[in-house]
């Protein structure tokens, strides 16, 4: 006992200072691979201080930032659920492993497997509105779209164009777990780690003023079946590297897979690309839905076999259209 106390005292003396050497809640994130481009996305403070930015441009970028952080201001117009851009892209869209958004500005236009065609930055943003926000994208070339594009491009400041070997891009990957993901185990992980904010029913929480404090994870207020996050491996990586808030890497790989499976085994608004049946749509977009549970049977029900489009009074926004260069 005495020995242990002495050791502890000596230890803290050596370290001195105020900060704890060994954090009790360490941030555990994957290492960047050698040779990867590591980006330092600029901050709002840098924007304010940067005299090379024209005041009009600064206004537009800040408008984009405001839309990114409070996308609910477009509710009923472009957004038909409870999400904000920042709900999934934590840290103002700058943070590695939190779906940093600036790579869209340096890697597009490029071919995307999701819709089998070359996409521009505006189309990529339109995808977020169509799926993750279960909505209708702001018109191409509109003030809203320009502001969002300007914010993305400014975050990408000084990043090499078309560099695709980017450190911390997307949400990362989590190794396949020892045991097949399981709904019941996932529900337990959910109740123990997520329910405090997202609610025992997964429907998130609103303040007395009606403002969404914690977003819902399924149901009408959540991302629809066509959203990137509906892919089990994607939400697993999001959870593992971002949740609970402020505790990246807290959950074991197995827990992250179980809870990701559980969340994405719940119902949500229809995939805007829906045709005929969930099974048919799943097969048609198997490159995407091969990673979701859509059109599969979980707990005796075929997920996505319904005509619910959530709050949105239409299925597919016109912005989602095919291009041909033949």
């Amino acid at each position: 006992m005495t020995h242990r106390i002495l050791t502890a005292a000596a230890f803290s003396l050596v370290l001195g200072g105020q900060a704890l050497a060994e954090p009790k809640v360490p941030v555990k994130l994957p290492e960047f691979k050698p040779g990867q481009y590591v980006h330092q996305a600029p901050t709002l403070e840098q924007l304010e201080a940067d005299q090379s930015v024209h005041p009009e441009l600064r206004k537009v970028i800040k408008r984009g930032y405001d839309l990114f952080m409070n996308t609910q201001q477009l509710r009923g117009e472009n957004v038909f659920n409870d999400m904000n851009c920042r709900s999934c892209h934590l840290g103002e869209g700058r943070r590695e492993w939190s779906g940093p958004v600036w790579p869209a500005a340096t890697t597009l236009p490029d071919y995307r497997g999701k819709n089998w065609q070359v996409n521009s930055l505006e189309e990529r943003i339109a995808g977020c509105f169509s799926y993750s926000m279960n909505g209708k994208p702001p018109a191409y070339g509109s003030d809203t779209m320009l502001a969002l594009v300007a914010y993305h491009q400014w975050l990408a400041r000084k990043a090499p164009v078309y560099e695709s070997n980017i450190a911390g891009r997307g949400f990362g990957k989590v190794a396949e777990p020892p045991k097949k993901p399981n709904y019941q185990r996932g529900e337990k992980v959910f109740q123990e780690n997520c329910a405090i904010c997202h609610g025992a029913d997964g429907q998130g929480q609103r303040g007395s003023d009606g403002i969404v404090q914690f977003p819902p994870l399924w149901g009408d207020g959540a991302y629809n079946w066509g959203a990137g996050l509906a892919r089990v491996d994607t939400i697993v990586a999001f959870i593992k590297h971002n949740m609970p808030l402020g505790q990246p890497g807290k959950l074991s790989d197995q827990d992250a897979w179980d809870v990701g499976y559980f969340v994405n085994a719940q119902e949500r608004p229809q995939d805007p690309r829906f045709e005929k049946s969930a099974k048919y749509t799943r097969e048609k977009y198997l490159n995407f839905h091969g990673r979701t549970l859509y059109g599969t049977t979980v707990n005796g029900r075929v997920l996505g076999e319904h005509s619910n489009t959530g709050e949105k009074p239409f299925l597919k926004p016109d912005a989602l259209r095919a291009r041909k260069f033949d």
């Binding site: 105020q18 900060a19 704890l20 954090p23 009790k24 809640v25 941030v27 709002l44 934590l90 840290g91 103002e92 700058r94 943070r95 529900e187 109740q191 780690n193 405090i196 904010c197 609610g199 025992a200 029913d201 997964g202 429907q203 929480q205 303040g207 003023d209 403002i211 404090q213 399924w218 149901g219 009408d220 609970p244 808030l245 402020g246 505790q247 990246p248 719940q266 119902e267 029900r301 319904h306 005509s307 619910n308 489009t309 949105k312 009074p313 239409f314 299925l315 597919k316």
Partner: protein, 210 residues
């Protein structure tokens, strides 16, 4: 395509079954009488606390939050040599009553004016935007819009005494307070420098309480 048939998400929701522990309902009038005996010397009957002594404001804090803190102080889950004997002498019903009383009081103290602009600016950043390069989410991402508190787990910070906020963040950082759910506060507090803590406390204290 018009919305054809609203699907009811009930089947998914029912399987989750929310079960919140329900404790005895507090009585505001009994709580006032109890507070006049037990709490008044330090926290005041209006719940204004004392900034100089780091005694927190209690007025208009969430009833569930107040109840949990008193229960934790009683059980030792939250350690505080001054509060422990007072909390230990309260029954569960008395705790519920006192919590109901202070939750029902409205803010009476004027928030202190801003002082050091650089400190206030850092505090505003931490409180409203966070510093994600250091894995510090904004205070408001849990404590609610304008840090007015959110539910029983995330107490109001706006208008709380800076001395108290500072003392609590330091307590988390040095391990003497640890009754937060899921270590949510510990994770943040231990990444904050002394300056961060002073700045956040100063900014939050200067915000109007609801």
């Amino acid at each position: 395509m018009p919305r054809l048939k609203p699907i009811i998400w009930a089947s998914a929701i029912l399987t989750l079954g929310a079960t919140a522990a329900v404790s005895a309902a507090g009585d505001i009038e009994r709580g006032r009488q109890q507070a006049a005996q037990t709490c008044v010397a330090c926290h005041g009957l209006d719940g204004a606390g004392q900034a100089a002594a780091k005694f927190p404001r209690l007025d208009s804090l969430d009833v569930g939050y107040l109840t949990k803190q008193l229960q934790d102080l009683k059980s030792g889950a939250r350690k505080n040599v001054i509060m422990q004997p007072f909390a230990a002498n309260l029954t569960d019903q008395q705790i519920a009553d006192v919590a109901a009383y202070y939750a029902a009081q409205t803010a009476t103290v004027a928030s202190p004016a801003a002082t050091d602009p650089a400190l206030m600016s850092l505090g505003e950043k931490l409180a409203t935007r966070g510093d994600w390069d250091r894995h510090l989410p904004a205070c408001k991402s849990c404590h609610g819009p304008d840090n007015q508190g959110f539910g029983k787990d995330f107490p109001a910070l706006a208008g709380q005494h800076a001395s108290y906020i500072e003392a609590q963040l330091l307590a988390w950082r040095n391990g003497t307070r640890g009754n937060d759910p899921l270590n949510l506060m510990l994770a943040i507090a231990e990444r904050m420098t002394d300056t961060d803590i002073k700045a956040a406390a100063a900014y939050l204290a200067a915000q109007p309480a609801k």
